[in-house]
């Protein structure tokens, strides 16, 4: 019977399911140990408790053992630190060992030491009296009460910041009980000073609370907060259990247990019932004063879960939970719910009975609900055979539905497969479907990785088709980090096996693994691993850290990331004190070298020159000198720089450059002389401009001299001189010049230059001297269109005539247009 282990509690049922036969690595008496079990089917830590065994404390340090939820030993550690008073687990499954001086040591599940922190000076000096490990809105928190009854708490063990809570007024002895409440994103302590209740916070405030309470009370001696922080149970010295909301505003019931003894543990099973435990007896109390009694054969330990309560004993690990609604709907005797009918139908079907059809007919309209119920109910079963039966029923029902979406069914099958895997004895994580939904698959994967169950984790990822970047890669990276910690393995082989596995996995950070290896002091391994890192921006800094300068530089250059190259260059420069050595190092890499030069060019031009000198790049060195000569203020320095440049160019066999530089020196010297003589500026003008200025100033002799000295080509000299004369309106000199000898430029150039400076009269003088073929063009230029037309007609050139015509049209000279049209006709007829 499915309902055999159900017990009614009011109008709901509770069931106690067996999870595991405990291993405990042989015989074990739990009551002799300090116990800590993590929620969500987490690991169990045990430590021999001298107080419980009654033995006189010896100097022998105790041993901490960590087991999985099935009692399979995971790790062991001989304690060698202070006096541990309490063990707890954080939400990331780290073991928190609380010492009597308020110091907390954090270990991972394999009992590797991770970090430590204290709970403040007062806790250290005064020692602590009591402690609570609680889950806060930020993670896992710890609260301690010192022997002077002050409470200190931290909200997150990953970021321990100690806060002192307000003091309860006139508290001269230990409070009868206290607990931590999380309300409104703030952790507060509820402290019972006998019958008085105080809520204290870290803002220095305290508030006395007055919960509704019918029965008389002299002290609250035990408190329990539900898993979701919303409900509170308190046990009074009169044996009454008060059940209400955690803000103390609502009361659900008061239940008199008639027990005068303080319960060993008071806990919530999910949110529906409070469980009080005395030795081998426990009672489950519902909000309506209903109750169930359970007896145990030996000592048990209770662990609160989101949807139930785990009961860990010497032989058994059980799970007490409210029977989920769907399960009740299907299996409750005489249930007429569609799910129940479908389940029956499926059973009949497998027996080949026609009754199956009758059942299906009964729920024809609600078949989809029935399927949903069966799927949901399957999720709540621990036993695979029951899961199968329910899923089979769901699948059977699905056959009769045409448009039922299969996702829910497939998802449930997948999730159950994963859950059954992790519930296996060897893994020992007894998660329920509800818990997994809350915990999420990625966190479950993390937990498997923590237990070094890499293979299972990866298989689950593949099975659930989680993208490699989020699933398998991450697991492999953890695996690799774990691998590099195993010092007995050969580095070469390790590097190879890691790269083999990880190279195809997208998104693996080799630099992270490498830095792990470096932490373990395995530099060579780190270097080998870093070689596989695709991200230069992560690879290079680590290489620099390991003094692999050249590799870092070449990797940075390969990446093309200039900034990264500079990072290496500047670090190297700081590290290598000998500049020569530094240059030698970077010279191997042309790109790095050019970038360094770029940097120096902006920051230290002199250094660039030195660099070129060092590598016998005389041409570049000469260029540097030329450029820098311009910023010299003293004339002599400037000449000296240029002279030095000549030497460089000669070494580089750059005849042209050295000749030009020589000419420049010569020119500069002449310009200097001219400045002295004339009180006008010449320096920094080009040769051309110098001659131009001289011409304008009427110094024709000097101009002529320069022309000869610098071998200025005739044609340019003429054009230069014409322009200079025209601009300074020296028309007589211009005319004389035009007649001095046969000009290397045509007469039309004279026309142009005159027109450029708007002297039409002068221009006309030269128009008459131009060759006949240029005449029309020149006449057009001076704007004498009529004459141009006449001239064109005379030379019988129709093309020229057309040019004149187009100009005439542009200037809209109607009369002229007519004339030219007439000319054209005449021209054509004459032909």
């Amino acid at each position: 019977m499915a309902t055999a282990d159900w017990n009614p509690l009011g109008n709901v049922y509770y069931r106690n399911v067996e999870l595991y036969q405990m291993d405990w690595n042989g015989l074990l008496e739990l009551n002799q140990y300090m116990i800590a079990a993590a929620p969500y089917g987490g690991p169990i830590a045990l430590m021999k408790d001298d107080k419980k065994t009654g033995r006189v404390s010896t100097n022998v340090k105790p041993i901490i053992n960590v087991y999985n939820a099935a009692g399979k030993p995971l790790s062991q550690l001989r304690w060698n630190s202070g006096n541990v008073v309490h063990l707890g687990w954080s939400n990331t499954e780290e073991l928190l060992c609380i010492q009597d001086n308020g110091v907390i040591l954090v270990y991972d599940i394999a009992l590797n030491f991770k970090r430590t922190f204290g709970m403040g000076q007062e806790a250290k000096e005064m020692k602590i009296l009591d402690w609570k490990v609680f889950s806060s809105f930020q993670g896992t928190g710890i609260a301690v009460m010192t022997t002077s009854y002050r409470i200190y708490l931290i909200n997150n063990v990953d970021d321990p910041r100690v806060r002192k809570l307000a003091e309860v007024p006139d508290l001269n002895s230990a409070p009868s009980s206290w607990t931590i409440l999380n309300l409104d994103r703030q952790s507060r302590a509820l402290v019972a000073k006998d019958a008085q209740l105080f809520l204290v916070d870290h803002g220095g405030q305290y508030q006395e609370q007055f919960p509704e309470l019918a029965s008389p009370v002299t002290a609250f001696i035990e408190m329990a907060v539900s898993f979701n922080n919303k409900l509170l149970a308190m046990f009074t010295d009169k044996g009454v259990i008060w059940i209400g909301s955690s803000d103390l505003k609502k009361v659900y019931c008061e239940f008199n247990t008639k027990a005068s003894q303080r319960p060993q543990q008071l806990a919530w099973s999910g949110v529906g019932a409070v469980v009080a435990l005395w030795d081998k007896l426990c009672i489950v109390v519902g909000p309506e004063k209903d109750w169930i009694k359970y007896n145990f054969e030996s000592f048990v330990y209770l662990v609160q879960e989101e949807d139930g309560l785990r009961i860990i004993g010497n032989e058994l690990h059980q799970f007490l939970q409210k029977v989920p609604d769907v399960t009740e709907q299907i299996f409750k005797i005489g249930s007429m719910e569609p799910g129940a009918m479908l389940y029956e139908a499926s059973k009949e079907f497998s027996r080949r009975s026609q009754k199956a059809d009758e059942y299906i007919r009964m729920i024809k309209d609600k078949l989809d609900v029935a399927v949903d119920q069966c799927i949901q109910a399957a999720g709540h079963e621990i036993e695979p055979s029951k899961q199968k039966a329910l899923l089979r029923a769901a699948s059977f029902g699905k056959c009769f539905l045409t448009d039922y979406r299969p996702e829910a069914f497939v998802d449930m099958c997948q999730m159950l497969r994963v859950l059954n895997q992790v519930r296996q004895f060897s893994v020992g994580i007894p998660l329920t479907y509800t818990q997994l939904n809350h915990l999420s698959v990625p966190v479950l994967i993390d937990r498997l990785v923590l237990r070094k169950l890499f293979c299972l984790a990866i298989r689950i990822c593949h099975y659930l088709k989680i993208p490699d970047a989020e699933g398998a890669s991450r697991i492999l990276a953890h695996w690799a980090c774990y691998k590099v910690q195993q010092k007995h393995e050969d580095e070469e082989q390790l590097a190879r096996s890691i790269s083999q596995k990880l190279l195809d996995a997208p998104g693996v950070s080799f630099s992270e693994i490498a830095s792990q290896a470096l932490e373990q002091g395995r530099k060579q391994l780190a270097i080998k691993l870093l070689d596989y890192e695709p991200k230069a921006s992560e690879q290079v800094p680590l290489l620099l850290k390991m003094d692999q300068n050249n590799t870092a530089l070449s990797k940075a250059v390969d990446s093309g990331d200039t900034d990264l190259v500079y990072t290496v260059l500047l670090t190297m420069k700081d590290k290598i004190s000998n500049m020569g050595e530094f240059f030698m190092a970077i010279r191997q890499m042309p790109i790095a070298y050019s970038l360094y030069i770029q940097y120096c060019r902006q920051q230290n031009p002199k250094l660039v020159e030195d660099l070129y000198y060092q590598e016998d790049n005389f041409l570049a060195e000469g260029n540097c000198k030329v450029v820098s000569s311009y910023s010299e203020e003293m004339f002599e320095d400037r000449i000296r720089k240029l002279e030095a440049a000549i030497t460089c160019y000669q070494k580089a066999k750059m005849e042209f450059a050295s000749k030009q530089t020589e000419d420049q020196i010569k020119l500069l010297k002449i310009q200097r002389k001219l400045e002295d003589e004339s009180n006008k500026t010449y320096i920094d003008m080009s040769l051309h401009d110098t001659m131009y200025k001289l011409t304008q100033n009427g110094n024709h002799k000097m101009t002529e001299q320069l022309r000869k000295d610098f071998k200025v080509p005739d044609k340019r000299f003429w054009l230069l001189r014409m322009e200079a004369l025209a601009e300074s309106s020296d028309w007589t000199e211009l005319e004389r010049f035009s007649k001095s000898k046969k000009p290397p430029v045509g007469m039309e150039a004279f026309v142009d230059v005159c027109m450029k400076y708007y002297n039409r009269t002068e221009a006309m003088k030269y128009v008459n001297r131009v060759t006949p073929d240029q005449k029309v063009k020149c006449l057009v230029k001076v704007g004498n269109l009529k004459e141009a037309a006449d001239s064109a007609l005379e030379s019988r050139n129709e093309d020229s005539l057309n040019i004149v015509l187009s100009k005439a049209i542009q200037s809209n000279n109607k009369q002229l247009i007519e004339t030219i049209r007439d000319y054209k006709i005449r021209l054509n007829t004459k032909k």
Binding site: P506, P534, D558, G560, S594, R716, L719
Partner: protein, 608 residues
């Protein structure tokens, strides 16, 4: 800082508005990191690009109250809570910022917080510089905003980095290439992995290699988007150094050549744009126009050969007049109403027509000059392979008349290219002439040009082969109704675009020999796309087969692209048989002048 609405960005085959939105989000995220009122201090070079991404009102919505250009004494007394410096990672600018902060210190303690945002990337060097100057600690936060490719139009992206060519080919500094690779990764994150990559040139290879690395760094976390861009073609500017040196003859190209287009806007003499009867007494500030495809007429005109602009404008004018005249025929109230609804659009069209006519007139003035025609003739001689092996009299004359140095250098570089290098004697002559006329400092300029290959001593003859096999010179060019890309240079087809054209059809295999003659390695790479993300109806093998479906090719020019080249690509996309749509990206939009300007010494230079 006025920005045109993003509507015109979204009208292309690929919605570049998405990219703009991406940048806006990032910018706002950056700015919102500091709470309270803010003043922005701009690195001047960034204001233009930012204007295209985020308009002032957007910044204002995020509590930006004031904006200053970064100068030696920028900070004015203002009672904002935060001062944010937006700057490129340049050491010179760090000095300016430090100066400002040190000045601020003298004024005594203030409540203002300082922030620094690097565009596009943080730089260790700059941070170090700031530390050296003792101001790094003053900053409350140092962020980076990776504004890489700025959307100019629905098919055009530019990084607006103007020093790329010099850095890559002269100084061996490939920082920009890293930015390029990153920007392509950003594009891939937004528009999917680009399956086919082609490239030509050293830098292209470099970029593709970096992309491969960056892909590795992503470690499988690649965008799960169906690829919207099918091909990526990366071209080094030095694969085709000839094209940008030639004078562009498209409308937009000519505007850029004569007046300079910056971040899609141009400044023009204002006199041209006011009614003739009211002449102002004093000279007016130049008037600024934003030119992009949001203006229908401009979208029509920009890629046309300038000789065809006139007829289009007059056609348009007639059409508008005709439409305006419709109101006389409108008899019923319904007809009238219909006309009125069209009115705003019509008025806008008329306004745009007036503007474009004036701009065209301004350009016409420039092209009518003798110098312009003669320069063109000289260029055409060279590209045709004529007169390339002797000293060209026109160049000589220009030097003597001291035309602008960039013009001279452009012509000589063209001659050098078309002659596969100049005879030593000729080159020396030109060099000597330039030094004598323009000054000794240009000796370095010339050496640098030689180092990059823009000028060279004659070597193996290749130009003639390239010219013939790629049909660079087209004699019977139709400027009005073009049938070949050569219309953008009136008879010369841009080499770079020919490469793109051959890639699309029939494929580069057909021009292997020519590709080998061009400098730099050829890159071809396939990026695997997960089957689920592949487009349907096309197999890997038939990447260029005519499936009838339009493919999108992103052409990325490293070192600059000209508007004429852009026009040529747009022309290719419009051809009937062309199944390729082009998105054009570049480190900068250049002209021959701006390209060469970068090589000139830093002494004052008058821009063209």
């Amino acid at each position: 800082m006025a920005a045109a609405g993003p509507a015109h960005l979204s009208s292309g085959k690929i919605n570049l508005g998405v990219l703009r939105d991406h940048y806006r989000r990032e910018l706002i995220e950056c700015i919102d990191k500091c709470t309270g009122t803010k003043a922005l201090v701009w690195d001047d070079a960034l204001t233009g690009p930012f204007g295209l991404v985020a308009e002032y009102s957007l910044l204002k919505d995020h509590e930006v109250e004031k904006m200053f250009p970064l100068g030696p004494k920028t900070l004015q007394a203002s009672n904002v809570q935060n001062i944010i410096f937006l700057t490129r990672p340049k050491l010179k600018l760090m000095e300016l910022i430090a100066q400002n902060l040190l000045n601020e210190d003298h004024k005594g303690p203030q409540r203002t917080e300082f922030h620094l945002i690097f565009v596009p990337r943080k730089s260790l060097l700059c941070e170090k510089k700031l530390k050296e100057m003792g101001v790094f600690g003053t900053f409350t936060s140092v962020e980076e905003f990776s504004l890489e490719l700025i959307p100019f139009d629905n098919d055009l992206l530019s990084m607006e980095i103007d020093t790329t060519f010099r850095e890559c080919y002269l100084e061996n500094d490939f920082t920009t290439m890293f930015y390029v690779a990153q920007s392509i990764m950003t594009l891939q994150a937004l528009y999917g992995i680009i399956p086919y990559i082609y490239g030509k040139g050293d830098c292209a290879k470099h970029v593709v290699e970096m992309m491969r690395r960056m892909k590795g760094e992503l470690g499988g976390r690649e965008p799960q988007i169906t690829p919207q861009i099918d091909n990526l073609l990366i071209l080094d500017r030095n694969v085709d150094l000839l094209t940008p040196l030639l004078t562009q003859l498209t409308y937009e190209g000519l505007i850029d050549e004569t007046f300079g287009l910056n971040n899609t806007s141009v400044k023009l003499p204002a006199e041209k744009f006011i009614p003739k009867n009211q002449k102002p007494d004093e000279p007016l500030e130049p008037k600024k126009f934003i030119l992009n495809s949001s203006d229908e007429l401009y979208a029509d005109l920009r890629d046309k050969n300038f000789n065809a602009v006139g007829s289009i404008v007059s056609k348009k004018a007639k059409a508008i007049t005709l439409e305006f005249d419709e109101r006389h025929q409108a008899k019923t109230v319904g007809e009238m109403k219909q006309f009125v609804t069209k009115l705003p659009h019509l008025q806008k069209a008329r306004e745009s027509l007036t503007t474009q006519t004036s701009i065209a007139e301004l350009v016409k003035e420039a092209t009518n000059s003798d110098g312009f025609m003669e320069t063109l003739r000289c260029q055409q001689d060279f590209t045709n392979g004529l007169e390339t092996d002797k000293i060209h009299p026109y160049i000589e004359e220009c030097i003597a008349k001291k035309d602008s140095i960039t013009k001279i250098l452009r012509l000589i570089c063209i001659q050098s290219y078309c002659n596969d290098g100049l005879k030593p004697k000729i080159l020396e002559y030109y060099k000597r002439e330039i030094i004598q006329a323009y000054g000794f400092e240009h000796m370095i300029t010339l050496m640098n040009l030689e180092k990059t290959g823009l000028l060279k001593i004659h070597g193996i003859r290749t130009y003639a082969i390239i010219r013939k096999s790629l049909k660079l010179i087209v004699d019977d060019v139709n400027e009005q109704v073009p049938n070949d890309i050569s219309y953008v240079y009136s008879g010369y087809a841009p080499l770079s675009i020919r490469l793109a054209q051959y890639l699309a059809r029939p494929g580069w295999r057909s021009i292997t020999e020519v590709l080998n003659l061009l400098p730099g390695p050829k890159v071809e790479e396939i990026q695997q796309i997960p089957v689920a993300l592949r487009k349907r109806r096309n197999s890997i093998t038939s990447s260029h087969s005519s499936t009838g479906e339009q493919r999108v090719t992103l052409v990325f020019f490293l070192g600059g692209v000209t508007y004429a080249e852009i026009a040529a690509l747009r022309f290719l996309a419009q051809q009937d048989e062309g199944h390729t749509e082009y998105i054009i990206a570049s480190t900068k939009i250049v002209t021959g002048d701006t390209l060469l300007l970068d090589f000139l010494p830093l002494t004052p230079i008058t821009p063209p």
